[in-house]
Amino acid sequence: MNTDLIFCMGLALLILGVAVFVVGSREPFPAVVGFVIFGLLVSIAWMCLSAPDVALTEAAIGGGVTGALLLVATARLGDSSKKGQKTKTPMGFHGLVILLCVAVSAGLIAVVLTFPEPAPTLALVALEPLESTGVKNPVTAVLLAYRALDTLLETVVVLLAMAGVWSLAKDSDWSKTPLFGYSPEPGGPLVLLAKVLIPVGVIFGIYMVWTGSDHPGGKFQGAAILAAMGILGLVAGVTSVPAVTNAKLRWLLVLGPAVFLVVGLMGFLSVGYFLAWPPGLSKAVIVLIEVALTPSLALMLGLLVAGPPRQLPTSNS
């Protein structure tokens, strides 16, 4: 038994323990806090699996931004927490559910223990064109060179999700701004935090995007940090979002996917097929797409947390 193995076992047990807490806790608020802790622990697990890019994504999006989203939701749903108590599930049904879940887990464990040897891999195929793209981080190369279609569709999915969230606004609230339905407290400690942290966070987010082509990092992680800074600014009341009808805001949102699409279509002219980068210019094109996508993605992630446009509750203070 080496120490790495013991550490990973402890980490796996801790993850499972927190997961049990998330499912089992009586109140929603502790469950959400547990979920954020869960996300951070899982990102350490990704480090143990030698996937720093995924670890950064999990910490920033899986734990951080999702956590903020769920905390906002808990706060908004808070009042009904007394009402929605556990209904009695019939004993037989409960047993059946447990049986089903145990069967699913047992089946998956059996699969894990009988993985084929040697493991199938695309690593060598993925490495082959790495040289020609000029990007040193293989994960970034996968995301923007030969699986660029996935990434393009993914940004469109995020955009569509945001359109879906906005479409849930009440008719009377349509011309308002997306806010958490919360009016910031002027002069609170959050204002200081926002003033200290936002400059550092913005630099860090941009660095994360920039370094992503050669080292762990990338546009999603960087955009998530930028989005987090935006959310902090909104909560502290030091930044504001324009109304969703604002044309500039909308153009900024579609800028990233649009640049991606146009550059992809140019592939028809230069090489002959969609999303093909002209030889020799791959790195430049990839960096261009990352730079164009980052502000759009950051805005989308932040606005997804902020929710549909909403009339601020009139505060009398």
């Binding site: 609170g188 400690p189 959050l190 200081l192 935090l193 200290v196 942290l197 550092v200």
Partner: protein
């Protein structure tokens, strides 16, 4: 020289871990929110600081050292702010 540095690391990290354990015990044992906050922030900030000091002799480059210190500074800013927010909330509910 390296033995001295190793010893330094062991001592600082051990003391740091001790503060973490003490803070956790305080978090679990103290009676109300404010004392629990006290246990958490004092012990964890100091604990993390000591661990960072303990790890400094082991970094490869000055950049890595700066990153470690930055991590500590960011945790300090975040935890002092969140304690402020929690404490304000407690006061508002009491009054």
């Amino acid at each position: 020289m390296s033995t001295v540095l190793d010893l330094l690391t062991i001592v600082f990290v051990s003391v740091g871990v001790f503060f973490f354990v003490a803070g956790t015990v305080g978090l679990l044992r103290f009676p109300d929110t404010l004392t629990r906050l006290h246990a958490l922030t004092k012990a964890d900030n100091l604990g993390l600081g000591l661990i960072v000091i303990g790890l400094l002799p082991r970094v490869d480059s000055p950049q890595d050292a700066l990153k470690l210190i930055l991590v500590w500074a960011l945790v300090l800013v975040a935890s002092s702010n969140s304690s402020q927010l929690i404490a304000r909330k407690v006061r508002r509910e009491e009054s």
